[in-house]
């Protein structure tokens, strides 16, 4: 009689040429890592008997590990090449249940790795279809607008007012604060240079034109993209998750009229107003620094501003705002309306909205710069 070194869970006994694998103790998931290590390298001669009479407990995870080890030791896929003996009825039921599933339970195939070039192509296609989708949605929004002109009673004043308040009124404090600080910073930086040449008063020209034509529209649009664009996607995305958008359609209402148009129109109305608030706030900021730093009194500042700042600069800045607003609102609402039906998708779509809106605003602004130069405005 010969025995292998004992482990707490099993030992192999060889007697008169017949081998017996004696299982013992608790075979449970909690000890499975140790059991598996002990089982590795187990080799059994054909016709071995598996004896379970000393088992106290076995669960299905341990039974599966046992069957896998027996398969590697040469007992066949389901341990059928071995004799089984001494199993308690409850333990035998668990082993049988696992045996029934083993044939059906091939490990899930791992997705094949994607080559980098194919990944690049896939992403390019995805970007293309995203842009095409935005364009499509812009068209649908325009069509809905046309419908509204034909039938003005479809306008939802209540929803529009709510959106005007949320996107416009509530944004005034943050817009004022940020643009005021931008005015301070630009004046300070310009002032440092202008002082060297004694050209203090020309700082007013620089700040006046720069703030009203470029900085205020861009900064305000970026704030609104982060505030309202993200809110549109999150609101509509969660409405889509809870099937509220489907309910609106089923009740015979148009989701475009009820949800999209009020948001688009509200943003196109409020963004120019917010840009104007931004213009004023940044000039106030500039005036605050110009006094102590450059010795320009508020009266001198305003007088110089009247001379230097042509109204066309302000108008160009304000004219960009509705276009930025349209881009932000269309991206925000479309990302919300087409969000995937799981919770993770809403978060991803909201992030995407903010990134896309900011990129769109900056690209549009570059387009405006080229256009205005060509028109010599």
């Amino acid at each position: 009689m010969q025995e292998t070194p004992a482990s707490p869970w099993f030992h192999v006994q060889t007697q008169a040429g017949a081998a017996t694998l004696r299982l013992a103790g608790d075979w449970r998931l909690a000890q499975l890592a140790e059991i598996e290590t002990a089982l590795s390298g187990l080799a059994l001669p054909p016709g071995t008997t598996v004896d379970g009479s000393a088992l106290t407990r076995i669960d299905s995870a341990a039974a599966q590990v046992l069957l896998r080890a027996l398969q590697q030791a040469g007992c066949g896929l389901l341990g059928e090449a071995c004799a089984w003996a001494g199993f308690d009825a409850a333990h035998a039921r668990i082993v049988d249940q696992v045996r029934r599933h083993v044939a059906a339970s091939a490990p899930p195939p791992r997705p094949p790795p994607r080559p980098a070039l194919a990944q690049l192509g896939r992403q390019a296609l995805a970007l293309g279809s995203l842009l095409l989708g935005h364009l499509n949605f812009l068209g649908a929004t325009a069509a809905a607008c046309g419908e509204l002109l034909l039938r003005p009673r479809q306008l939802r004043p209540r929803e529009l007012t709510v959106q005007l308040e949320q996107t416009g009124l509530n944004a005034i404090p943050v817009v004022s604060l940020v643009t005021l600080l931008i005015g301070v910073v630009i004046t300070y930086l310009l002032g440092l240079q202008a002082e060297k040449y004694g050209a203090n008063i020309f700082v007013v020209d620089g700040v006046g034109i720069g703030a009203t034509r470029e900085f205020a529209p861009i900064i305000v649009a970026i704030i609104v993209a982060g505030r309202s664009g993200a809110a549109f996607t999150a609101q509509l995305g969660s409405m889509r998750l809870t099937e509220e958008i489907d309910a609106i359609r089923t009740l015979g209402l148009s989701a475009m009229q009820v949800l999209v148009l009020p948001r688009v129109l509200a943003l196109m109305l409020t963004l120019p107003l917010l840009v104007f608030v931004g213009d004023v706030a940044s000039l106030v900021g500039a005036m605050l620094v110009a006094g102590p730093m450059l010795g320009i009194t508020p009266a001198a500042f305003l007088a110089r501003l009247r001379e230097a700042l042509d109204i066309s600069h302000v108008l160009v800045g304000l004219a960009k705002a509705p276009v930025f607003a349209l881009a932000i609102a269309v991206i925000g609402t479309r990302m919300g309306m087409t969000v995937g039906r799981d919770t993770g998708a809403v978060g991803a779509a909201t992030t995407s909205t903010v990134v896309q809106s900011i990129v769109a605003v900056i690209l549009l602004d570059a387009g405006f710069a080229l256009l205005m130069q060509a028109l010599e405005w």
Binding site: D59, S60, V65, Q97, H101, P107, D342
Partner: protein
């Protein structure tokens, strides 16, 4: 009597005097029961009797106003964080809508408890995940899909596969057959029964499904007006003299009677 009680195995679930109040509303007013190993218990009660709240209190998610919950010998609301962690590995919970992690595939969902709580080799984890999916009756091709791509019945099966991943001794199910068609629901009943019979798991399920109660459940606990109104086999519970219980089970007999008359 005393010796018999001492020799009886400790109950898997021991709920004593649970009181739950939300503001002025009293949901539970002294709920007590015990469940022994290897039984399949159904918890019923009309909407608003706090079945889901009771489940949440039993698994340590919501602290009851008063009372004691002992699972597998651990007092859930007195236990230290480490003790609670240890007992959490010994029971599983299936939430009503599955609560699968939407950013992971079904296989990854089932693998989460295995990867977090065991030191098994990746290949063993993969094999175990496949076993769990098979035990829950999911086809192999479902493994690579995301929860949002599954039907309601398959999502419930995936949820139960995750709940039994660590081979729990005790399983809580919240409305496992709600929203399923009758055929899928009966398949789910058989699955739960098989877990009890083959793996010796103790199951407590909150349910509204009369077919589940009449076919697979060993014992029914009826919650009504904040207390346990009846507790016993389906036969015993239907015999209880209470208006709500009579109407609850008469829905079933009426339907059968109508069908019988029609044929």
């Amino acid at each position: 009597m005393v010796t018999a009680a001492a020799a009886a195995p400790a109950p898997v679930i021991d709920v004593q005097g649970i009181v739950t109040r939300f503001g002025a509303t009293t949901v539970h007013d002294g709920v007590s029961f015990r469940v022994g190993r290897g039984t399949l218990v159904g918890l019923i009660g009309s909407s608003g009797t706090g079945k889901s709240v009771l489940l949440r209190e039993m698994i340590g998610l919501h602290r009851p106003t008063a009372g004691r919950v002992t699972l597998l010998g651990t007092d859930i609301w007195q236990a230290s964080a480490a003790e609670l962690d240890a007992v959490r590995r010994r029971f599983g919970m299936m939430f009503q809508d599955g609560a699968l992690f939407s950013s992971l595939t079904v296989a990854q969902n089932v693998a989460v408890p295995l990867r977090e709580h065991t030191r098994l080799a990746p290949a063993t984890v993969d094999a175990l995940v496949a076993l769990r999916l098979a035990q829950a009756g999911l086809p192999a091709e479902a493994a690579a899909r995301r929860p949002s791509e599954l039907s309601g019945g398959m999502r419930k099966r995936a949820a139960i596969a995750r709940a039994i991943a660590l081979e729990p001794e005790l399983l809580f199910l919240d409305e496992p057959t709600s929203g399923l068609d009758p055929i899928t629901a009966r398949g789910f009943d058989r699955l739960v029964r098989a877990l009890v019979d083959d793996l010796g798991i103790t199951v407590l399920m909150a349910t509204h499904d009369l077919d589940t109660l009449l076919t697979v459940v060993d014992r029914v606990i009826v919650l009504s007006r904040g207390r346990v109104l009846a507790d016993g086999s389906v036969r015993e519970v239907t015999a209880v003299d209470d208006e709500w219980v009579r109407r609850y089970f008469s829905v079933r007999t009426m339907t059968q009677g109508d069908l019988g008359d029609g044929s």
